[in-house]
Point group: C2
Chain length 150, copies 2
C-alpha cells in the first residue's frame, strides 16, 4: 500500500472513530440526562469561565457543531442552568454564566462523561493510549506549521 | 495520571485533531476548487453509486455535518455537476446522479484531497500510521460491541 493510500485509510478511520464516539456520548447524554453533546460542550466552556462569557466568546470556544449558540443558551436559560445578564463594562453585551443548579448539573454529567470515555478507551492498553496521544500531537503540529505543498 | 484522565486526554486530542484536519481540508477545497468539505463528501457518495442515489439515501451516507443535503444538491445542480431525475421505478422519488462534468470535477478534487492528506500524515512514519489505524479499529469495535457500563 502506498503512503498516500495508507494516509487516506488512516484519516477515514480517524474521522469515523471520532464520529462514532461523538454519537455514543450524545446518545448517553440524552439517555441519562436528557441532554446533548452541544449542550454539554457549552456548559463545559462556562464551567471554565467563572466570570461568564459573552455570546461571541461562547461561539468561538464551542467545539461541536450542530448547535446554534443563541438557541442553546435560550434553552439552558429556560431550564435555569444559565443566566444572561448585561455586562457591567459593556451595556450592549450579554454575559452568560452558570447558575448553582447549572454547576451541579454539569458536574454530574462530567463525571458520567469521564466514565463513558474511560470505558471506551479501556479497549487500549495504557501504553497504546499514550503513544496515540503523542502521535496525534505530531499530526496537529504538522497542520499548524506552514507547509509548501498543502 | 489515572486511566480515566489518560483516556479523556486522548479523546480530546482525537477530537481536536479531527476538527483541525477537517478545517484544513475545507480551507484547501475552498481555495483551490471554490468547494467545501460537505460538497466534496456528497460528490464522493455519488461517485460510488453510478446508478444514482435518492435524497434519503444521500442524507444517510453523508459523513460531514453542516450541509443541508437538499440545499447542497440544488447548488450542485445549478453548477451542472449533478442531475435530479424522477426514478423509473418510483415516480415520487428523485434520483441524484453525477454529470460528466461532475465526475471530472470530483476526480480533480479527489486527487488533491489525497495529496493534502498524504502531506499531513507524512508527519508520522509508516509504521506509526499503521499502528494507529489498527488501534483505532480496536476502539471502534469496542464502541460497537454491547457493554454493561456505558
Amino acid at each position: 500500500m502506498s503512503a498516500a493510500q495508507d494516509s487516506l485509510r488512516l484519516w477515514l478511520r480517524l474521522f469515523s472513530t471520532t464520529t462514532l464516539v461523538e454519537r455514543e456520548l450524545d446518545r448517553a447524554l440524552k439517555r441519562e440526562f436528557g441532554s446533548t453533546l452541544p449542550r454539554f460542550d457549552l456548559l463545559a466552556q462556562l464551567e471554565r469561565a467563572p466570570e461568564g462569557l459573552r455570546m461571541g466568546e461562547l461561539s468561538e470556544r464551542i467545539l461541536t457543531t450542530g448547535g446554534n449558540v443563541t438557541w442553546l443558551v435560550r434553552a439552558l436559560e429556560a431550564d435555569k442552568l444559565v443566566t444572561r445578564r448585561v455586562s457591567p463594562t459593556d451595556k450592549r453585551a450579554a454575559v452568560v454564566r452558570l447558575t448553582a443548579a447549572g454547576k451541579r448539573h454539569f458536574a454530574a454529567m462530567a463525571r458520567a462523561h469521564e466514565r463513558w470515555i474511560a470505558d471506551i478507551f479501556a479497549a487500549l492498553p495504557a501504553a497504546d493510549r499514550r503513544a496515540m496521544h503523542a502521535r496525534l500531537g505530531v499530526v496537529k503540529d504538522r497542520i499548524r506549521s506552514p507547509r509548501t505543498t498543502a
